[in-house]
C-alpha cells in the first residue's frame, strides 16, 4: 500500500468517526428538544442551540479531512502528490486525534445536551448555565482538532 492510501484512510476516518459522533449527539439531543417543544414551543430557540452543540465535531472532522486531502494533492485539481509510506502513515496518525476524540466527545456532548435541555424545560432562565455543561465537552474536541491540524501541517510529503 502506498503512502497516499494511508493518508486518504486517515482523512476518511476523521470525517467518518467525527461525523458519526456528531450524528449521534445531534440526534439524541434532537429527541430531547422535540420532547420539550411538544409541550412548550416557545423554548424552540433555546433547545435548538443545545441540539447543535454536538454538531461541531463533525465539522472539525471534515476540516481535518479537507486539510489532509489538500496536503496529498487530491483537492485543487493539481493531481495526486508523491507521498512516501512514512509520510502517509504520519498523516494517518495525525488524523486519529480528531477522529477518535471527535466520535467520543460528540456522543458525550449529545448526552450532556439532553441533560441541559432538561434544565431548560424546567428553568428556561438558566439557559446560560445550562449551555456551559455541554460546552465543556467541546474543549477536548478543540484540543484534538488543534493537534491534528498542527501535525498534518508539519508533515513533509517525502520522508
Amino acid at each position: 500500500m502506498s503512502g497516499i492510501v494511508w493518508a486518504l484512510l486517515g482523512a476518511a476516518l476523521a470525517a467518518i468517526l467525527a461525523g458519526c459522533g456528531s450524528a449521534y449527539g445531534v440526534g439524541v439531543a434532537g429527541q430531547a428538544a422535540s420532547g420539550v417543544v411538544t409541550e412548550d414551543p416557545s423554548k424552540f430557540g433555546k433547545v435548538l442551540i443545545m441540539q447543535l452543540l454536538p454538531g461541531t465535531q463533525g465539522i472539525y472532522g471534515l476540516l481535518i479531512a479537507f486539510i489532509a486531502l489538500s496536503k496529498i494533492g487530491l483537492m485543487g485539481g493539481g493531481g495526486a502528490a508523491e507521498v512516501s509510506m512514512a509520510s502517509g502513515l504520519s498523516i494517518f496518525a495525525a488524523c486519529l486525534p480528531i477522529a477518535i476524540v471527535g466520535l467520543i466527545s460528540a456522543m458525550h456532548q449529545g448526552r450532556t445536551s439532553v441533560a441541559a435541555i432538561g434544565i431548560i424545560a424546567k428553568k428556561p432562565d438558566q439557559f446560560g448555565k445550562a449551555m456551559l455543561f455541554p460546552a465543556m465537552v467541546e474543549t477536548y474536541a478543540i484540543l484534538a482538532l488543534l493537534i491534528s491540524f498542527l501535525a498534518i501541517n508539519a508533515i513533509p510529503l517525502t520522508m
Binding site: Q31, A33, G35, E39, M107, A115, I117, A121
Partner: protein, 323 residues
C-alpha cells in the same frame, strides 16, 4: 448508550413537571376558604376538562385519566407500568370476591382504570374462571373466595389478597431491571409491612395474624418486626429506628395522621432521584407516581374542606410534593 430510547419522553415529562403542584400551590389550595373555592382554584389551574362537572371526584378522576392518556401518547413500553396497577387489580379482586360471596352490590368501589375492571372481575369470580387472571393473582383469588365462603371472615379474605398483592409487587421489583421499579417495590412492601405492624400493635393482633399479613422485604426483618408489634407501638418504633426508618418511628409517636403522611412521603422520597435522571424510563414512572400523590393530596384537602376541618389540621395531612 442504549438507554436513550426514552429521551423524547423524558424531556416531554420534564416540561410537564412544571404543571405539577408545588408546596406553594398546595398551600394556596389549603388557604381557599371553602370546598367550592378549592374547585374553582383547581379549574383555574387547568384541572378537569371542558365537559367535567364542577365536582371534586369528577375532576380528580379526569386528572388521573389525563396522566395515563399522556403516558400512552408517549408510545413507550407500557409493561413497565403494570406494577403500578397491581394494588388496583388486587383491590378489584377483593371487591369482587366480597360482592359474589355476600351478594351485596356496592356501586363505585371498583377501579376501572386498570387491566381488569368491575364487569370482568365479577365474571371471573362468579364463574371461578381463575385462569383468566394474571398468574400472580390466581392462587390468591381461589384461596380468598373459598376462605370467605367457608369462614365468612372478611378480614381474613382481605389479608390473603393484600399479602398476595405485596408479594406480586415484590416479585415484579426483583425481576425488573429498572432501578425505580425495584425501589418502588421495596418501598411499597416496606411501607405496607410497617403499616400492618403499627396497626397490629395498636389492636393487639396475634403473631399468627401478622405472619399471614406481612410480606418479605429486603430492608425489614419480619421476625423482629412481629416480635416488636406484639410488645406494642413503642417497641415497633424502637425497632424501626434501628432498621433505618427513624422518620417512621418519630411519625408513629406523633400521631396517626403524621404516620400516614410519612408513608406517602416515603414514596415521594423514593422517586425524588428521578428528577435528575435525563434517560431511562425512571422519570416517566416517577411522574405517574408524583401525579398519583398530587391527586391524593388534593383529595385529602377537598375532603377536609367538605368536613370543615381547620387549615392547621389540613396542613398536618398534606403530603410532600415531587417538585
Amino acid at each position: 448508550m442504549a438507554d436513550t430510547k426514552y429521551t423524547y419522553a423524558v424531556a416531554r415529562i420534564r416540561a410537564l413537571e412544571l404543571a405539577l403542584f408545588s408546596a406553594s400551590s398546595i398551600e394556596q389550595l389549603v388557604a381557599c376558604k371553602d370546598y367550592k373555592q378549592c374547585l374553582q382554584f383547581l379549574t383555574e389551574k387547568g384541572w378537569g376538562g371542558a365537559d367535567t362537572p364542577l365536582d371534586g371526584d369528577a375532576i380528580l378522576t379526569r386528572e388521573s385519566q389525563k396522566t395515563w392518556e399522556m403516558i400512552r401518547e408517549l408510545h413507550v413500553d407500557m409493561d413497565a407500568f403494570d406494577v403500578l396497577s397491581y394494588q388496583k387489580l388486587f383491590h378489584n379482586l377483593k371487591a369482587a370476591v366480597k360482592e359474589i360471596c355476600t351478594s351485596e352490590v356496592n356501586a363505585h368501589i371498583f377501579f376501572e382504570d386498570c387491566e381488569i375492571g368491575s364487569k370482568e372481575m365479577l365474571r371471573i369470580i362468579s364463574q371461578r374462571d381463575y385462569q383468566a387472571l394474571p398468574v400472580y393473582m390466581q392462587e390468591a383469588a381461589k384461596e380468598a373466595y373459598e376462605t370467605l365462603l367457608r369462614t365468612r371472615d372478611g378480614q381474613l379474605c382481605d389479608v390473603i389478597v393484600d399479602k398476595a398483592a405485596l408479594e406480586a409487587i415484590s416479585a415484579a421489583g426483583k425481576s425488573s431491571k429498572v432501578e425505580i421499579i425495584k425501589n418502588y417495590a421495596e418501598s411499597t412492601v416496606a411501607i405496607a409491612d410497617i403499616k400492618i405492624a403499627y396497626r397490629c400493635a395498636k389492636t393487639g393482633k396475634s403473631m399468627d395474624f401478622m405472619r399471614r399479613s406481612l410480606a418479605k422485604c429486603g430492608t425489614l426483618n419480619l421476625e423482629l418486626l412481629m416480635k416488636a408489634a406484639t410488645s406494642g407501638v413503642d417497641a415497633v418504633s424502637d425497632y424501626l429506628s434501628q432498621a433505618g426508618y427513624q422518620e417512621a418511628a418519630e411519625a408513629m409517636k406523633e400521631s396517626n395522621s403524621a404516620f400516614e403522611r410519612w408513608c406517602d412521603n416515603k414514596m415521594v422520597q423514593t422517586i425524588q432521584p428521578q428528577k435528575y435522571n435525563p434517560f431511562t424510563i425512571g422519570p416517566l414512572i416517577a411522574y405517574v407516581l408524583a401525579r398519583e400523590n398530587e391527586i391524593k393530596t388534593v383529595r385529602i384537602i377537598l375532603t377536609c374542606k367538605q368536613n370543615g376541618l381547620s387549615d392547621d389540621s389540613i396542613r398536618e395531612r398534606v403530603r410532600e410534593m415531587y417538585v
